[in-house]
Symmetry: C2
């Protein structure tokens, strides 16, 4: 009897793997079509592409939500004894995919998608016109639907509505834990920031390298640095899109950046950042390519990998020493490209209005503000008409500056108008994880920094591969951190990093 | 009672349209993924892409072959009284799609696909090594499976096995009609060719333009000519691939060419040819975008559109007069770029060994040879070991030359090793249709040639849109020809064109 049950569970698990292989290939096709839409597609192809994508998504949804999958999941979970650790983790990820896909009634999913689409379109004009009033009604509709969805998911998972939103981007993340971490940052950063600014004021002024920075040269430098980082062009590409992103599939990773010929920093940093994401995707476990457990764990782990490359490795003195002569050779203007000056440029801190232009020190404050506000909105404690005032109060309190208008204030990000509530915290949780991983990596593998000073990233990437990439979704972000650093996600490594970099004695 | 039947049929038809909309979007996604594979994908992405494509094709197959579709087709065909002409034609195309997808048992489809894949891989090496013996066994297996498939389809459609193969590429094409047309060409061309060569010998020698022809400049010229032809870059792109092709979807047409910097003719002609295909796709009826009747009629009609542009319009004196100064400006070397010299180059005839390098006069002879041989192979009258001998005999008889080896003889084309039997005739039937359409177009719209001499293609493209493109698959190729030229497909216009161009008095 028990043997029969065990066999049945085993068969159910194997059938599930076949179903999820199909879903994974659909996801791969969707990812390439998304990439094409952002990089190659002529504008006139938009309607046809939207139809192709929506049809593939519908087919994916049908494949995932069939009653057969529900029965198979129950049967497979009935006896885990024949499954190894990877398979058990895979089954849990299957259950999560199914739950996320079936949690909401179809009409709510459609209403949300429509409301987000409407709101994002409205936001583009509203932001340009600095007219929050024109955005408020569609943002309010979207917020109400998001609250309904969060409440429905929360009831299913057994958590708070905001936790249900967080869970979409990193499964298992909890507002209580975020609160604890973020309050440590709030205790630290608002005092730390003025000290950094004061220290910076006592340094020689930064020399801005003189442009133009021809796009072809920027691209050539970017490709060379990607090779240094270990990006494998047999399995990936670098292209241009309006917003940098990393897409494709692990065996064919497509990253993008954007170049302007009057400025080199944005294009360069986007390439380094996206290469960090790409190396994670590329390093995911080969044996689990087609299964949920073979995918990246979530946005916190993903962001940690991009920030380790961009912020921790590539803005540090070892890499800057390697990079500076390359930049001088590529763009001339020798005086501005000294390592000391370049590092000052890479580590410049100011009280910035705009999150995407923020630096390592202020970025968490930007996120903190958004986190507090979105929690209040989801909790019903902050109404849309009161958002601009609350935003401006928060900016004064946390960053000590006042936005001159709503366009550069509460309307600066696309996230809320696009329906992304619960996403912002992953940026800063990713930065904390990055600092914690990097500190452990440097300690466990002393070759990392000396190698980087020669433009060699094998020691770092080897450590990341062993400790993060190759585990896919097998472990939660906290489990990964405990395994490799001995502690769950915390602020100590991040604060130590900021002190060492921005307030050296 | 009759009213109920009619309503049932009507409902069935409408449900079918929804099913075929989904299939059309899957086809669109597949087409973009195919294009990406040929133009953008890094080599290391090949396996993942093959999996994505095979999964999407399987989903498409399941969607098309469901028993529901069979029932709906029968119900809709039960009463056509409520359907207009477009809908009736659409229903017939739906039936054809379903029949093509269900005609063969799944194991034969899989065996054929595997055999073709094996044979094509073998062919690459065999051709390089000039070793027909190494190709023969896998070609023999593929031929036997193709004969089995043709016999099964023929029984279903009620035609001969070879007709069943022809039908795959242009529905309704019959070997009896092809025989009649091709024997007229065989009566004409072998005598005509020596006269052309003799006439050519009496002309001044052609001056070959001196390279190099920088790839960037070739691309710039190509883009300009595409714009002249009316290609809409809001709805399409030009890229590079190993073999030129036209892909994408009608609202996002992706054409490709290839450039080598020592030669300009191949890259240029491929662009003009593929632009002809692209204009057909782009001009397909908007109201029927997502339905089978909205797609191109078949390979004969498609090839006619590419040849009208490349061969009839762009190798004629009007376009050459417009092009010559452009080429001189782009590539220098004034003497070689005179209109007279350029036209001689564009219209040069020789007894060529290789089909893809052939000219308008010899091309049909190459096709004739392949047609005779593949009919004999499918009919069981020519065995694979005897193919090289039969090929060489045919070349001597039709073109008066002997291939020096099998690599440049019966192994020169990928078609048979790829399992494409019944495809070759469409090249020459397309050339006949092109000449017939173009003659009617010039007669009915006298502005066509004067406009082309100024680089303006609106009169030509307007005529093609009205008479060919906008009809999609509503009419058969012969019906289209009768409607616009008064006669079904014939050889008269083609022969008249060759005489006028190659033996002017």
């Amino acid at each position: 009897m028990s043997r029969n049950k065990s066999e049945r569970a085993d068969n159910a698990y194997n059938t599930l793997e076949r179903h999820f292989t199909r879903i994974s290939r659909l996801d791969g096709a969707l990812s390439v079509l998304d990439w094409d839409q952002a990089t190659m597609m002529p504008n006139g192809g938009a309607d046809a592409r939207a139809e192709q994508l929506s049809t593939l998504k519908l087919i994916r949804h049908e494949a995932l939500c069939s009653s057969e999958i529900a029965d198979l999941l129950a049967a497979a979970e009935d006896d885990l004894s024949r499954l190894d650790g990877w398979q058990q983790a895979n089954l849990a990820r299957m259950r999560r995919s199914w739950r996320n896909a079936t949690a909401l009634p179809a009409d709510l999913v459609e209403a949300l998608s429509l409301a987000a689409c409407n709101c994002e379109v409205t936001w583009r004009t509203a932001r340009k016109d600095n007219n929050f009033k024109s955005l408020a009604p569609s943002l309010d509709i979207l917020l109400q639907l998001t609250r309904d969805a969060a409440t429905a998911k929360a009831a299913l998972i057994g958590c708070s509505p905001y936790d249900a939103l967080l869970d979409q981007f990193d499964s298992g993340a909890k507002a209580a834990a975020v609160d604890a971490l973020f309050s440590e940052l709030e205790d630290f950063l608002p005092d730390f920031l003025p000290q950094v600014l004061e220290h910076q004021r006592r340094q020689p002024a930064i020399m801005e390298p003189k442009g133009p920075f021809p796009v072809d040269t920027q691209r050539a430098v970017a490709l060379e640095l990607m090779r240094d980082l270990g990006f494998d062009f047999e399995h990936g590409r670098l292209d241009v899109s309006h917003h940098p992103f990393s897409g494709g599939v692990p065996d064919d990773v497509r990253i993008t950046t954007r170049y302007i010929d009057t400025e080199f920093l944005q294009g360069l940093m986007a390439v380094l950042h996206e290469t960090g994401h790409a190396m994670y995707e590329r390093g995911l476990p080969k044996a689990w390519r087609s299964q949920p457990v073979g995918r990246a764990r979530g946005m916190i782990a993903h962001e940690s990998q991009s920030l380790i490359v961009e912020m921790l490795a590539c803005r540090g003195p070892e890499f800057v020493g390697y990079l500076a002569p390359k930049m001088a050779a590529a763009f001339g203007d020798g005086k501005a490209w000294t390592p000391v000056n370049l590092q000052r440029l890479f580590q410049h801190v100011e009280r910035d209005l705009i999150r995407v232009h923020a630096n390592e020190v202020t970025y968490p404050l930007h996120v903190l503000l958004r986190y507090r506000l979105e929690r209040a909105m989801i909790g019903g404690d902050l109404l849309i008409p009161d958002l601009p005032g609350a935003w401006n109060d928060g900016m004064r309190l946390l960053l000590g500056i006042s936005p001159p208008n709503d366009a550069d204030g509460c309307m600066q990000d696309v996230h809320w108008p696009a329906g992304l509530f619960g996403y912002f915290p992953t940026y800063t949780l990713g930065a904390l994880a990055a600092a914690q991983f990097f500190a452990a990596a440097k300690q466990q593998q002393p070759e990392i920094l000396p190698a980087i000073s020669k433009g060699k990233f094998k020691p770092l990437m080897g450590w990341l591969s062993d400790n993060v990439h190759q585990w896919g979704s097998r472990y939660s972000t906290d489990e990964l951190l405990v395994r490799t650093t001995g502690a769950p996600l915390g602020t100590a490594a991040f604060k130590a990093h900021l002190r060492a970099r921005y307030l050296p004695d």
